[in-house]
Symmetry: C2
Subunit: 185 residues, 2 copies
């Protein structure tokens, strides 16, 4: 069981905590005996999608590439964690269908109000000012998943609470071994 690969596909607005959650989960999953790889939106754009922009077509191409690599990892017993906004439902569902291993879609929900208030990277301000075009949630659509495997509310939950929900789901489905007695994670 513990040798089984799968994909954790995070989706959510910019700044909602996808990469933070991915980075938080990685050592925990390794502790549980898994090989883990994070496919971060920015890293993938640099290495697999340089030249692509943020039009719907280019975003879709980028997401398909992430899905292609995640599937390769997952079918080889690795946990692939993706942390791209992936705003379009149809492409996420297309990737899910093509994946030859368990696919765990995690909707990282946080209200736009909270995210604009935080605005840790100043991106929302730039998007509102029109300096950044095609910004998801401001000038570009975000389509929330209809039936995600897990929903976390990062505007109101702590990272520990959100991570615990995801780990509980993975344990229930037999995708990871239960926490060892006395272990922290």
């Amino acid at each position: 069981m513990t040798n089984q690969g799968f994909t954790i596909w995070f989706t959510g607005l910019s700044g909602s905590g996808k990469s933070t959650l991915a980075t938080y989960l990685m050592p925990i999953l390794k502790e549980r005996g898994k090989n883990v790889e994070i496919l971060d939106g920015d890293e993938v754009r640099e290495n697999l999608s340089k030249g692509l922009g943020f039009s719907k077509e280019d975003r879709d191409t980028n997401i398909r590439r992430i899905g292609f690599v995640a599937n390769m990892l997952a079918r080889n017993n690795c946990v692939a964690i993706t942390a791209a906004i992936s705003p379009y439902r149809e492409i996420r569902d297309e990737v899910r269908k093509k994946t030859q291993a368990a696919f765990v879609e995690v909707y990282v929900e946080a209200s736009l109000d909270i995210l604009e208030e935080r605005d840790t990277k100043g991106l929302y301000k730039k998007a509102r000012a029109g300096i950044i075009k095609n910004f998801t949630g401001v000038s570009d659509p975000y389509e929330a998943p209809e039936k995600p495997e897990v929903v976390v509310h990062t505007g109101t939950e702590s990272i520990e609470q959100s991570a615990a929900k995801i780990l509980a789901y993975l344990e229930t489905k037999g995708l990871i071994a239960p926490k060892k007695v006395g272990a922290k994670v």
Copy 2:
């Protein structure tokens, strides 16, 4: 030991037998307990590099992408077998340097005369007629590796002989377990 990932990086002219050798090796390596993934030039172009052409710059980008994915697989205990022409030495060496696992470059050598004679896909004929541009070996350069880990001569060796050379190298380096007594592969 047998859980260790690595990259087998085939390089050689079109039609030299890179994909054939990759496909031949895959079940043998699985039999020896490895997870194996083939990154075929054409498949990668379709899924990761659509829109790229065959200029030096575009070829280099394509090879870097293959290297990026192969490294992800190899560092997660998978065997990544790449089967793209990868004509430029500098980029192959760049990929080798970035790879965080053993890197086994296999030069699939066959003379242009033999390959043009065979021309199983009719590509050389089209390249000579100028119908296909930037064709490696005809209208585009091929830079053979200077210190490949293995050289196979597919113009004169059988596929079994070439595969045996590669497997012997992998065994010697402790990258795969030796053949079981009585096993065919």
